[in-house]
Amino acid sequence: MISRRQMLTASAAGATALVYPFSMARAQGSPTPDQVFFDPEIPALGNPKGDVTIVEYFDYQCPYCKVGHPELMKVVEQDGKVRLVMKDFPIFGSVSIYASTLVLAAHSEKAYEQALNALMATEGRLRKEQVDAALLRAGLDPTGLHLAFKRDAKRIDAIIARNMAQASAFNLGGTPAFVIGRKIYPGLMNEKALKEAIAEARKA
C-alpha cells in the first residue's frame, strides 16, 4: 500500500505555479516522455493511436478532477486524435487508494473505463461503501475487483508508486494536474485551455 511517507514525496515545494517545459525537467533526470505517456500497465482512453497524449494526475475524491472530467472527455471525443492516460495520484487518504486499486484491477480496458467513469461521476468525498455502490451501479462487481487487486497487488501498487514518483519529479502540488505535450498544467483545465494545450502540443 501507499504509505503517507510516499504521499509526501509529491509535496516538495507545493504546487508549481507556472507551466514549465517538460524537456527541462527531463534534462535533470526526471522520467522520460515514454514513461509518462506510455505506461504499459495503464490503459489509454480516447484514441489509443492519437498523436497527442493528455496525462492527468487525479484523485477519485478530488472535487475539481471530477467537475472537469465530463468536459475533458468531451474534448477528447471531439478531437478524435487524443490519447488520454489517467494516472491515479491518491492524495485524499485510504478511500482514494481503495478506489484507485479497484479500478486498476479491472480485467479489461473496457471495464477499466467503465469503473473510472463511474467513480468520476460521484460527488465529493467518498466512503468505501459509496465506492462499492457506484461500481455496482455501473454493472461492476466491487468484491470481485477487490479480490482481483489482492491477487495483483504488486503490479497495481507499482503503478500507483510510479505515478507518485512522477508527480514528485514534476513537483506537482496536488490534483488535478495535466501533462500535455511537453508542458505541465497544474489545476483544473476547461475546454478552451485543453484545446489550446492540445494545439500547442501538435505544433511542437
Binding site: 509535496s11 533526470g29 526526471s30 522520460t32 472535487p63 514518483a165 496536488g174 497544474p186
Partner: protein, 618 residues
C-alpha cells in the same frame, strides 16, 4: 461565499477563459503560524488566501512516535453543494488547538484546495513544541521519496532520488524572478514587526527590556561588571545604596543611550558601525584604556579627564559632580565594548531600522535593550554599597583586585589582535603578578592571610603553567599543556571542521547551486574580532554531537574581519546584522523557517537548526 462560488462557476462556463490563476504554492495559500495559548495549549492559525479553503476533517496531529493526538477545531462552513457532498471547510482563516504535549516535534497535517483549481496533497509540517518553529519535512530529505517502484525494472532516471534533483531546477526555470541572483530565505517577520503586531509599541519596548535582561549575563556584558564596580569603588568612602543607585543608573542610562544612538545610525546608514568599532585600532585603544584604568586602580595616578573636557561637560551638565560625569562618560564609552556583540534582539532591531527606516522605534527598542542589560548592574550598584566593606586599608586591596580585573579585560580584548599564543604570556604575567601580590600582601589580618595566600599560590602555579604552555606552542589559555599532552598521547585525533571561504554573494550562490540536492549548507558569519565567535568555535563547533549533526553539511564561512563592498552586499542579501550568525540552507537551497542562529550559539540550538536543514538522521 457559496453564492460567489456558484457565480464564478457560471461565469466560467460562459466565458471559456482560463479557469483560474495558477495555483499558489501551498505555503502561500495556507500560511501557518504556531503560538501558545495562555492555558498552555498549542494553537495553529492558518491565514487562507482568498479563493482557497482548508478541510476541517483533514487537520490532524501526531506525536513524534506516531501516536494520533487529540486536536480541537471549530465548526467550519458547510460545503454541501451537490457537486461536493457534505464537507466542512474553512475560508479566510482556520484555527486548531491541541492540549497534547510531546517531547519531540509534533507532526501537523492539513489539506485544502484552490477553489475550482487544484486540491493540494496533504501538507505535513513538523512543529517544535518549544521553539514553535515550523519545518517542512518533505523539503528536507530526498530519501523520503523512495517509492517501491524504483527497483521494479524502471530505468534509474525515474527513481525519485534522481528526479528530486530536478525539482529546484524546474522551479527556477519556471520562475526566473527567483533566479540566480536572490537567495531563498525564510520569510520570517522581523522580530520587532511580529512583536508589534501582537501588542503594539509598548510590548516592543517591554520585550526588548526583557531580552536585555536575558543577555545581561552573557560574555558580552560581563566586562561591564568590573568596570562599574571599579568606578564605584574608586569613588572612595562609604558607598551608600542611594549613591550606588544613582551612579549605576547614570552609568546604565548613558550606555543605553549610546547603544541606541549607535544602533540607530548603524541601521539607518546601512553600514555596520560595529565593524568600525571593532577595528584593530579601536579594540587596541579600548584595551589601552583598560590598562590605564588598571594603573589608576593601582594608585599610579588619579584618573582625571582633561580639564577642557571636564569644563565643557561641567557647563553642559550643570550640577553633576565630577564622579557622576566620569560615570556618564564611562557608561557612554562602555557601549563600544558591548555594542559589537551581536545578539538576536540587536540584529532584529538593526535590520528593522535598515528595512523600514523607522529609527525612532528601532532606537527605542535598543535603548530598552540597553536598560535591560543594565538592570543587574543597577542592582549591583545599589546593593554593592552594603556588601562592600568600610573604607580603609581593605579599600586598597579591593581596588587592586579591580585593577587586575581591568588588566584581564584588556588582555581578553586584545588577544584576537595578538599572535596566537602571545596572550598566554600576558595571562601568565598577570597571574604571576597577582600571585606575588597575594603572597606578599602584608596588610591582611591573620585569618585573611590564608585564603589570600592560597589564591596567590594557585595564581602563581597556573601562571607558570601558562608560561610553559606558551613556550611549548599551546594557544588555548584553558588548556595550556595541550601541546605537551598531545605529544605524549598522539592517538587522539581532533578533526577540525573544515569551512570553505566565501567573500561575495555570487560566490555563495555558486556554492549553493553546486551543493543543491546533494547536501544542506551552513553559512557561518564570523570575524577575528568577534568574541562570541571565538567562544562558539572553541566550545560549540568542536563538540562531538555538533560534528555528527553537521556531518554531510556543506560548511561555508564568511569571514567579516576585513570588510569590503562584496561582503556588505552579501550581508545585505542574506539580511545579516553581523557575526556571529549562522544561516542554514536545505537541500534545495532554501532557508528553513526558524533555523537562523544569531548571537551566542549553543550545541542544542545548532543541532536543532541542523535538523531543520536536513541533517542525516542516525
Amino acid at each position: 461565499m457559496m453564492r460567489l462560488f456558484l457565480l464564478s462557476l457560471l461565469f466560467l462556463s460562459f466565458f471559456a477563459a482560463p479557469l483560474q490563476a495558477s495555483p499558489l504554492p501551498a505555503d502561500s495559500a495556507f500560511q501557518l503560524t504556531v503560538s501558545r495559548n495562555e492555558d498552555g495549549s498549542l494553537r495553529f492559525d492558518w491565514s487562507i488566501t482568498n479563493g482557497y479553503y482548508l478541510y476541517r476533517e483533514h487537520i490532524s496531529i501526531k506525536a513524534a512516535d506516531g501516536r494520533e493526538l487529540p486536536i480541537e477545531t471549530p465548526a467550519g462552513e458547510r460545503k454541501d453543494d451537490p457537486t461536493f457532498g457534505p464537507t466542512e471547510v474553512y475560508y479566510g482563516a482556520a484555527t486548531a488547538t491541541t492540549r497534547a504535549t510531546s517531547d519531540g516535534p509534533l507532526e501537523l497535517t492539513y489539506q485544502g484546495c484552490q477553489e475550482n483549481g487544484i486540491c493540494y496533497i496533504p501538507q505535513i509540517r513538523l512543529i517544535d513544541p518549544v521553539a514553535l518553529a515550523v519545518s517542512n519535512p518533505s523539503e528536507q530529505v530526498g530519501s523520503a521519496g523512495r517509492a517501491p517502484s524504483s527497483g521494479s525494472g524502471l530505468p534509474r532516471a525515474a527513481a525519485p532520488e534522481a528526479s528530486y534533483g530536478s525539482t529546484p531546477e524546474i522551479a527556477s526555470t519556471a520562475a526566473p524572478a527567483a533566479g540566480a541572483s536572490t537567495f531563498n530565505l525564510a520569510s520570517d517577520d522581523s522580530l520587532i514587526q511580529s512583536i508589534r503586531s501582537r501588542g503594539g509599541t509598548l510590548l516592543v519596548v517591554a520585550s526588548f527590556l526583557f531580552f536585555g535582561l536575558l543577555i545581561a549575563f552573557t560574555p558580552c556584558v560581563l566586562p561591564l561588571y568590573p568596570i562599574l564596580a571599579g568606578v564605584l569603588v574608586r569613588g572612595g568612602g562609604q558607598l551608600k545604596p542611594g549613591r550606588g543607585f544613582t551612579l549605576s543608573s547614570i552609568y546604565v542610562l548613558s550606555f543605553a543611550t549610546a547603544f541606541a544612538l549607535l544602533g540607530a545610525v548603524a541601521g539607518w546608514s546601512g553600514q555596520n558601525l560595529q565593524m568600525l568599532l571593532q577595528s584593530p585600532v579601536t579594540t587596541g585603544a579600548v584595551a589601552l584604556i583598560f590598562v590605564v584604568l588598571a594603573l589608576a586602580m593601582f594608585g599610579l595616578f588619579e584618573l582625571q579627564l582633561p580639564a577642557s573636557w571636564t569644563n565643557w561637560i561641567a557647563q553642559s551638565t550643570g550640577a553633576l559632580s565630577i564622579s557622576k560625569r566620569t560615570v556618564a562618560v564611562l557608561g557612554f564609552s562602555s557601549a563600544l565594548i558591548i555594542g559589537p556583540c551581536v545578539t538576536a534582539p540587536l540584529a532584529g532591531a538593526l535590520l528593522y531600522i535598515a528595512q523600514t527606516g523607522d529609527m525612532a522605534l528601532g532606537a527605542t527598542a535598543l535603548f530598552a535593550l540597553g536598560i535591560g542589560k543594565g538592570i543587574p548592574l543597577i542592582a549591583l550598584g545599589t546593593m554593592g554599597g552594603s556588601i562592600l566593606p568600610r573604607a580603609g586599608a581593605w579599600m586598597e586591596s579591593v581596588k587592586r583586585v579591580f585593577g587586575l580585573a581591568f588588566l584581564a579585560t584588556a588582555i581578553w580584548m586584545a588577544s584576537p589582535l595578538l599572535p596566537a599564543g602571545l596572550d598566554l604570556v600576558f595571562w601568565s604575567a598577570l597571574l604571576v603578578g597577582a600571585g606575588t601580590w597575594g603572597l606578599s600582601s602584608e596588610n591582611a589580618t591573620a585569618h585573611q592571610r590564608i585564603p589570600t595566600r592560597a589564591f596567590g599560590t594557585m595564581a602563581l602555579v597556573y601562571g607558570t603553567l601558562l608560561l610553559i604552555g606558551a613556550a611549548s606552542g599551546a594557544t588555548d589559555p584553558l588548556r595550556p599543556l595541550a601541546a605537551l599532552a598531545s605529544r605524549s598521547a598522539p592517538a587522539v585525533e581532533k578533526r577540525e571542521l573544515e569551512f570553505a571561504d566565501v567573500t561575495s554573494a555570487p560566490e555563495l550562490q555558486q556554492f549553493l547551486q553546486a551543493s543543491k540536492a546533494a547536501e544542506p549548507t551552513l553559512v557561518y558569519f564570523t570575524a577575528d574580532w568577534c568574541i562570541t565567535c571565538r567562544t562558539i568555535e572553541r566550545s560549540v563547533l568542536i563538540d562531538n554531537q555538533v560534528r555528527r549533526g553537521l556531518d554531510g553539511f556543506h560548511l561555508i564561512k564568511a569571514d567579516l574581519s576585513d570588510m569590503d563592498g562584496d561582503k556588505i552586499e552579501l550581508m545585505q542579501q542574506l539580511k545579516i546584522a553581523g557575526p556571529p550568525t549562522m544561516v542554514f540552507f536545505d537541500r534545495v537551497a532554501r532557508e528553513p523557517a526558524g533555523s537562523r542562529l544569531v548571537g551566542n550559539v549553543t550545541v542544542e540550538g545548532l543541532l536543532q537548526s541542523a535538523g531543520f536543514a536536513g541533517a542525516p538522521q542516525k
